[in-house]
Point group: C2
Chain length 168, copies 2
C-alpha cells in the first residue's frame, strides 16, 4: 500500500510518500513544494496542484492523507490555508485517490502513541519509524506523519473488518 501524506500550506506544501508492506513502513520520498515568493494566488495554487500531480504520477500512491484543521489563527490565515488545502485535495481527487482526513490528535497518537505529544517528539518518531538519516524538513515531516497515521488506521480498519478484512 502506497500512501501520500500532504501538509498543505500557501507558502510551503509538504509531501511524504511511504509504502506499507505488512506491518513494515518504508520511506520512499519526502519534500516541500514552495511556490515563488512573489507568485500570485492563482500561480500558487497551480504550483501546488501541478507539483502534487507530478509526485502522484511518479509514485502512483493509492491513498492520500491530510491533516484536519480545526483551529486557525485568524480568518485571513484560515482562508489562505483553505485555498492551498483545496488545491492539494483536488490534486489527489483528480488522480482518483481517496483522501483520508485525520485530526492532529489522531496523527500524534499514531506516530508517538500520545495525542498531546510535542512537535519535536513527532518529528523524532517520524525519523525513527521510517529510518530517515535525519529529521525531515518541518512540512515534509508533518506530511510523513499523516501518511503514517493513515497506514495505522488502515490496520485498524482491517482488524475491524475481521478475518476477511483486507488492507484498505
Amino acid at each position: 500500500m502506497r500512501i501520500l501524506g500532504i501538509d498543505p500550506g500557501s507558502r510551503a506544501t509538504g509531501y511524504g510518500l511511504i509504502v506499507k508492506e505488512g506491518n513494515r513502513l518504508i520511506h520512499v520520498d519526502n519534500g516541500v513544494i514552495r511556490p515563488p515568493e512573489k507568485a500570485t494566488l492563482p500561480e500558487r495554487l497551480h504550483t501546488i496542484f501541478l507539483g502534487l500531480g507530478e509526485i502522484i504520477s511518479e509514485y502512483s500512491p493509492q491513498y492520500a492523507a491530510v491533516e484536519q484543521v480545526f483551529v486557525a489563527r485568524n480568518p485571513q490565515s484560515a482562508l489562505k490555508l483553505g485555498q492551498a488545502r483545496g488545491a492539494a485535495i483536488l490534486a489527489a481527487t483528480q488522480a482518483g485517490l481517496p483522501v483520508g482526513e485525520y485530526s492532529a490528535m489522531q496523527v500524534k497518537s499514531a506516530v508517538v502513541g500520545y495525542g498531546r505529544a510535542a512537535k519535536g517528539q513527532v518529528q523524532q518518531m517520524v525519523k525513527a519509524l521510517l529510518k530517515l538519516p535525519e529529521i525531515a524538513q518541518e512540512d515534509a515531516s508533518d506530511a510523513l506523519a499523516v501518511a503514517i497515521c493513515h497506514a495505522h488506521s488502515s490496520n485498524l480498519n482491517a482488524k475491524l473488518a475481521g478475518a476477511g478484512g483486507r488492507n484498505r
Copy 2:
C-alpha cells in the same frame, strides 16, 4: 470579450457569463453549482472544479473574475470558503484563464456606482444592466456582478493604456 464571474462557496458556487462588445454587456448564462448536501470535502471540491470546467469548455471565456475576501466570519468558515475558492480559481487557471480579483467595494462601484451600495441594489442593477427577466439567484447574481466589474476595469485599463490600448 467573454468573462466568467465566479462566486465560490462550499455549499453553493455561483457563476455568471457575460460578453462585452464595445461598451455593451450581454448576458450569456448564469447559475449555481451545488454539491450534494452529504458530499465529503473532496467530493465538494471535485464538483466545483468539474462544474466550472464544464462551463469553461462550453462557453470558452477568456477571463475569469472572482471577489477578493477580506473578512470572514470566523476561521472555520474562512477555511471552508478558502477550499472552495481554491478549487474555483484552479478550474480557471487549469483552463489557461487569467483570474482577476476585485474587492467588494470595486464590484459595487462598478455595478451601482457606489462602493457601499446594499446587496439588493447590486442585484437590481445586475438585472437592469444585463436585461435579465428577473433577479438572478443570489450567488449567480454575485458572480455576474464581479464579471461586470472585470468588464469595467478592462475599459479603464484600455483607457490607461492610451490611444494604442486595446480591450484586455
